[in-house]
Amino acid sequence: MAIRDLLWACPECAAFASIRSAERGVEICASCGVRFRRAHGASIEVQWPDGSTGIRTAAELEDRLPPISDMPLPAGRLGPAQALVRIARTTRPVHDRGDFLGRAEIFGPRQPATVTLDERCLAAGIPESPLVWPLDAITAVQPSSSTIQINSRIHPLASFRFVDQSVRLWEQAIQDRIRTAWIEAGRGRIVQFHPHIRSR
């Protein structure tokens, strides 16, 4: 995980997906040059290009982020972003001393993919077998540690780990697109994305 996973845009210049890893423990906004690193506890040290510094809480920085819906999307599309995608192959029962506890997913190997999101679908350009998730077929968007899990009616559970972009940017962007698609389709305002998408 990284500070860019918390900050999907730069809190100083509002550029989206601009925060990148610099040297160890330091991340930098490619747009304005502001640097971020973890200070004491859960606070973040911000260093501006003129050399001045300040300590901010994660909540203070997050409050300054622009809404995802304001994100400028070239050609109406987010990405392509490099990601490692795993598709659940099957599930396995979990037992403890003879008691059936539930089932757990067995994922296939991590496959490098280029992921894109547009108004109608989420797509993973996996070399061997590209996959497309129409937004209206997605049934859950679930963040899990540093990955996003997408469940749908047409594909098994898929897990996305983004190589150099904010997992939260993608989570929020996918949710925002699905929210808009549901409203346009007259399916109501979404009130939850997990454990399954539900509208009011």
Binding site: M1, L101, G102, E105, P143, S144
Partner: protein, 217 residues
């Protein structure tokens, strides 16, 4: 469901691996900042109860289980159980899988079964760790389970663990965690299942209790 008032529940001792994990967690963190516990008297010594906590950090379930003498059964994401070592350890520390991208009826059944056997079950009402340290929206399913189970509900306010290991950080740092067990909440017992309004009302009460709890020491 039977309650402690009408059934003498046996005292449950944690299994050996669980006790060892408790010891390691308490010892390690006493050197790295300490875990301060308040209101331990609100946790029943025997009988079923539902512990409903906020979720700040990866460390929350470890610290919560470390400071309660009796074993606490907790949901853990199902994907963790596929790793043979992690899965074995999770089962030894009384965890059971929940598939979080769908309504997992089996996880609810297991939680209810533990409660029927007089055990304590812990659930993180927000469903996932906070990104920014603030309380998130509650998962209505947790409140529904609390209403359906009809057992004492102990709110548990965890603070300090976000400063130790926030979700966006790679590793933990030293710091003091505070775990505050609050007096049991009186929620109605709706054995036939709770409607949306009742679940929303219970979730609101739980979140308000957690929100107004004192912060870290």
């Amino acid at each position: 469901m039977n309650t402690p008032a009408d059934t003498p529940w046996p005292r449950e001792t944690p299994p050996p691996f669980y006790r060892m994990a408790q010891f390691i967690a308490r010892t390690a963190w006493s050197l790295a900042g300490g875990i301060h516990v308040h209101g331990r008297e609100h946790v029943p010594e025997t009988g079923p109860f539902l512990l409903i906590a906020n979720h700040q950090s990866f460390l929350d379930p470890i610290f919560t289980q470390a400071v309660i003498r009796r074993p606490i059964y907790a949901m853990a994401k199902s994907t963790q159980f596929t790793d043979p070592v992690v899965g074995w350890m999770l089962r030894r520390v009384c965890s059971f899988p929940v598939r979080r991208y769908q309504v997992d009826a089996q996880a609810v059944r297991i939680a209810l079964r533990h409660l029927e056997r007089g055990r304590g079950v812990a659930i993180y009402i927000e469903g996932e760790r906070t990104w920014n340290g603030r309380l998130q929206e509650p998962r209505p399913g947790t409140a529904r389970l609390a209403l359906r189970a009809g057992v004492p509900v102990i709110p548990c306010a965890i603070s300090g663990t976000y400063e130790i290991w926030p979700r966006w950080a790679r590793r933990p740092v030293r710091g003091r965690a505070t775990i505050r067990f609050l007096p049991p909440l009186e929620l109605p017992h709706l054995s036939g299942g709770a409607n949306r309004a009742a679940a929303t009302g219970a979730a609101t009460r739980l979140m308000e209790t957690l929100r107004t709890a004192p912060g870290p020491d």
